[in-house]
């Protein structure tokens, strides 16, 4: 049976496809970030910018407090250093082996003895900050401020990787938005299946679940029986979702061996065909997927809410006139 909401189902279908692709991209992105230790390297860049003195940075990373974190991170560059550890390690380095790390005089002397003028100037200014009571607090505040900048760097790098991944996934799947829309429009059954699967996906919760509650209390009479929600699954997308993606995307009919071509057409003609027929659709997909899974989850939710709120015109009941006043 044809859907009562063909345009809405089309919007739900394409949003669902984008959501699944964005989920794949974000998972791959995080995996890459872990493998290349992107956070650790970004943090190191931030520490370099903060300390300015390469020798001081080398001593900092060699300090036992920081080495301890490195061991927790499988011997790689630490991806996170707490502000108190940063301050304590730095104070210990600057005060030297013969004085306590909290010795203010030894700390000042240590800063004065730094070879790098920029580092000396920066640390002198930080240690004179009257907002805080102790040198440790001053160094911690200095570090935390710079970490906000480091987080910004990481986000930017991550976003670039997302664009590249979105392009790679789009090309790999030949996910041409225009072709997908055409497939769904011509195949209402497929569109309906996507809508049903989108409903199930929405029940699994927002991919970026940061703002979601941890639990629900399903039995109003038992406030001790909480049900955990939004626990991430082991598999990013289900086998059924993978199968659906395969049905609306793919290289069938477009691959070099089976595209509609004259007999003498070669490789470059095929590339020209792809660019002419698919490039616009790919570009739309890449831009859409790079908006991220949370964006498409929210969009899908809105479309689904509209669909749930509306009633099919053919199923709408005639207005109940029993309560209407009779004309005078």
């Amino acid at each position: 049976m044809a859907s009562s909401f063909p345009y809405l189902d089309l919007a739900i279908g394409i949003s669902f496809v984008y959501l699944l692709m964005a989920l794949v991209c974000s998972t791959v992105n995080e995996s890459i970030a872990g493998v290349i230790n992107s956070r650790g390297k970004t943090l190191e860049k931030g520490i370099s910018a903060l300390l300015q003195d390469p020798d001081l940075k080398k001593k900092f990373y060699a300090h036992p407090l920081i080495q301890g974190i490195k061991q927790d991170d499988d011997g790689r560059l630490p991806s996170y250093i707490a502000s108190n550890k940063f301050a304590l390690a730095l104070m210990d380095i600057l005060t030297g082996p013969n004085a306590s790390a909290s010795n203010a005089d030894a700390l000042c002397e240590g800063v004065k003895n730094l070879k790098d003028e920029a580092a000396k100037t920066a640390l002198t200014a930080v240690l004179q900050n009257p907002q805080f009571k102790t040198d440790q607090e001053r160094l911690e505040a200095w570090y935390e401020q710079s970490m906000n900048r480091v987080t910004g760097w990481y986000k930017r790098t991550s976003q670039i990787r997302i664009y590249v991944l979105a392009a790679a996934v789009t090309l790999f799947m030949n996910a041409d938005s225009l072709k997908i829309l055409k497939t769904l429009w011509n195949n209402p059954t497929m569109s309906a299946v996507l809508v049903e699967n989108a409903k199930e996906r929405l029940q699994k919760g927002r991919p970026d679940a940061e703002g979601q509650p941890m639990v629900t209390y399903d039995n109003p009479d038992d406030p001790t029986a909480s049900t955990p929600t939004a626990i991430p699954e082991k598999d990013v997308i289900t086998a059924q979702e993978k199968q659906l993606l395969g049905q609306v995307t793919g290289w069938q009919g477009d691959w070099i061996t089976d595209w509609p071509h004259p007999k003498d057409a070669g490789f470059f003609s095929w590339i020209a065909y792809l660019l002419k027929e698919r490039f616009g659709g790919w570009l739309i997909t890449i831009l859409a997927v790079s908006l991220g899974a949370p964006f498409w989850f929210d969009t899908l939710s809105r479309f689904m809410n509209v669909r749930s709120a509306g009633k099919p015109p053919d199923a709408a009941k005639p207005p109940d006139k029993s309560g209407e006043k009779a004309p005078a």
Partner: protein, 304 residues
């Protein structure tokens, strides 16, 4: 498969790190979480190290702050507070607090356990060595607030509005609570809770009970309720409301047999909901995950 899981886990851990960098962390024993998740109160042997000379002025909240230690039962830097301490009924407790202050002698106290990042430290680990506090308000994430019994002095009568004190209105307080985030992770024996600093200690609000009250192991009660806004809209839903044993709010809840659909106008203070934390970390298998902070309200007074 194992490698993919590991990579996924690394990804999640890394995702949580920028948040953790701005947060305050308390690491609790899971056995402690399990023991107290469905209790209103805790019983401890308490060293009174420092106490305010006088209770706070009524306009400030009327509390009496005491900093001390309960190494065996709590094992964290902590304070304990007597509600409405300027009332004559609480005079004996206040007098005894001052009598034992700094004596290094332990006294039994009972009160509402409360985790809330109002005066947090960067990191505190439960049952690590707890230093003697240097003042009445050391950095802490744990409180016994309010105290219900100080040695032999029952102070449950203090659970009533503080004359001259204006709590935060519901929209402001719950608007703030609902925005709070938390990052949790767990091992077999410990759970780490990280959150940014929280505020809005006292909130006055009207609630509509969403179910029947359920008795807790220590004689307190918990009930789910929706918090109503000025136009009767719900501004927070299915919040656990904790009624403390022996207190006037609990007596009213039980004597009037209040339940689903009934309303109460109350004053409450928030605390982290350990019931939710426990259920979540048990299901998440120790992954580092960020979510909305689960909180519950300790009902400290009924507004007539």
């Amino acid at each position: 498969m194992k490698c993919r899981n590991k990579l996924g886990l690394i990804g999640l851990l890394l995702l949580a790190l920028p948040l953790a960098a701005q947060n305050n962390t308390v690491v609790l024993k899971r056995a402690f979480v399990e023991q107290y998740k469905d209790r209103a109160t805790i019983d401890v042997s308490f060293f009174v190290d420092h106490a305010h000379a006088h209770p706070n002025a009524p306009a400030a909240d009327g509390d009496m702050h005491v900093a001390g230690r309960a190494q065996k039962e709590v094992g964290l830097p902590m304070v304990a507070e007597v509600l409405n301490a300027a009332q004559p009924g609480e005079g004996a407790a206040v007098k005894e607090i001052h009598a034992v202050e700094g004596n290094n002698s332990q006294l039994p106290i009972t009160g509402v356990w409360r985790f809330w990042f109002e005066h947090p430290a960067k990191q505190q680990i439960q049952f690590a060595n707890v230093p003697v506090p240097g003042n009445t308000n050391p950095d802490h994430s744990f409180e016994i607030h309010p105290i219900t019994k100080f040695d032999k002095n029952d102070v449950t009568g203090a659970f009533q509005p503080v004359a001259g004190f204006q709590p935060y209105d519901a929209a402001t307080a719950f608007g703030g609570y609902e925005k709070l985030k938390v990052t949790v992770s767990a091992t077999d024996s410990a759970v780490s809770i990280s959150a940014s600093k929280a505020a809005y200690n006292y909130a006055e609000f009207e609630m509509t009970l969403a179910g029947s009250p359920k008795k807790l192991a220590d004689g307190g009660y918990a009930v789910l309720a929706n918090v109503n806004g000025k136009a009767d809209e719900s501004i927070a839903s299915n919040i656990r409301m904790i009624f403390v044993p022996g207190t006037p709010p609990l007596q009213q809840l039980l004597s009037e047999k209040l339940g689903d659909g009934d309303t109460m106008h109350v004053i409450g203070i928030p605390r982290i909901n350990l019931n939710a934390i426990s259920a979540f970390v048990n299901a998440s298998g120790g992954q580092t995950l960020s979510r909305k902070l689960p909180y519950e309200m300790i009902i400290v007074a009924v507004v007539k």
